[in-house]
């Protein structure tokens, strides 16, 4: 059977619309803003589905059902999330391992017998793919959220920064588009003429402001599932390290 792509299916599938924040067992230490937890769960559905499809490729037809059951039986189960509190700095892994254990439990209860050696080997090979698919999709999810917030932020006028949109445009033209589209960054002359930037140092300030804004939003997004401060920093570094390692692996 052709292995399904971890991507491309996320638009078709929606996480059950249960109000996490209304479930009455809100964790006290996971994330800084408990009201955003419902959004948080919805946001990370794509990495979980990517993991499930890559780690358990034979379950493609049941993936949606399994994820819905996982939500009901684990995420929304009282006390489940409090376990995550004990794993500070590792919410991402906690979510992934919980899903893995959930699926394995489901499979073993269904088969009612220990898995064969052949199945186990297949599982080990797929596990690495699952880890990679999950980590990459998590990185994408984080980055997409950071960029959405940053763009919105730049569209909000502020008294001391009348040309706030320029911040986003400089960031987009110099950093985002060249990186994501593999194009040459817009040259200096074209950039300043397009955006009406008054001097080289004004251009430098815009890019520096954009970078600071990006880092602030990155900390904020990660701070919603990790505790603020050191755990957030560790998570940022872990993500970077993981993605850099994955990228090296893909180029070799």
């Amino acid at each position: 059977m052709k292995k399904p792509s971890p991507r491309g299916i996320e638009e078709d599938w929606q996480w059950p619309a249960t109000g996490w924040s209304d479930s009455g067992h809100m964790p006290s230490t996971l994330g800084r803003n408990a009201n955003r937890l419902n959004e948080l769960i919805l946001r990370y559905q794509a990495p979980l589905k990517a993991y499930l499809l890559a780690a358990f490729p034979g379950l493609v037809d049941e993936a949606d059902e399994l994820l819905q059951d996982f939500t009901q039986d684990r995420i929304l189960k009282e006390g489940w999330l409090s376990k995550a509190d004990r794993q500070r700095g590792r919410f991402r892994d906690f979510l992934k391992i919980s899903l893995k254990n959930f699926v394995r439990d489901r499979l073993s209860s269904r088969a009612n017998a220990p898995v064969s050696l052949e199945d186990l080997e297949y599982d080990i090979a797929s596990e690495t793919e699952g880890e990679e698919a999950f980590g990459l999709e998590w990185g994408r999810t984080i980055l997409a959220e950071v960029l959405t917030r940053m763009e919105q932020d730049c569209q909000t006028p502020q008294q001391n920064q009348p040309n706030r949109l320029q911040i986003w445009d400089v960031f987009r033209l110099r950093l985002l588009q060249p990186t994501l589209e593999g194009a040459e960054p817009v040259g200096y002359e074209e950039l300043v003429s397009k955006l009406g930037i008054v001097s080289p140092f004004a251009a430098q300030n815009l890019l520096a402001t954009a970078k600071r804004m990006f880092e602030r939003h990155l900390d904020e997004v990660i701070g919603e599932y990790e505790t603020a401060g050191e755990a957030t920093k560790v998570e940022v570094e872990d993500l970077k390290k993981f993605l850099a390692g994955l990228s090296r692996k893909k180029t070799h």
Partner: protein
Amino acid sequence: MKAFDSKAAVREGTAAQISQILDMGGQANEWKEQDLRAMLQHQFTAPLDCDLRSQELAGGEARSREKTLTGAANIRIETFKDLLTHPVPPLELLKLAKEFFKWRIQACKKDSPEWRIAYLFYMLTLLAAGKHASDLSSLSPKALLKGAKWALEQSWIDTQTRQFILAACERLIDLVSASRSARG
């Protein structure tokens, strides 16, 4: 042209691309050598007040800056080119410009394009001051000439700027000679 949808682009992004953005692009977003020519011309035509007001000053210093900039506008010195090519550039304005470029030199990564623009304009400001350069800076004429030599070695500097530097160096050498002669 199709608008850039960052979310859609990220959804298709590779691990290398996501990692590079999380790392702020590394060196990839620095200006290239060919951008320096455009940056130089842009700095010449940049309005003085935008750059010179960007440094945070308080109290008396801020008031003095406003007074200097208003005075400059009154005699139609509006850009750095206006200032540097003025037959008698106001010393207070040169001082303000010098302080601005010094601040940028300190803030920029050494040898980055912005650092080089800042260093060039710092030198141009001192050279434009002629015999008053010592009122603006403690740099010796020898150090000034060394800075001018650095500027002349930059491939991105245009002919007009080159001529300006050479003429200023000649004046500087004459001044040093005259000063030596006067001392006997």
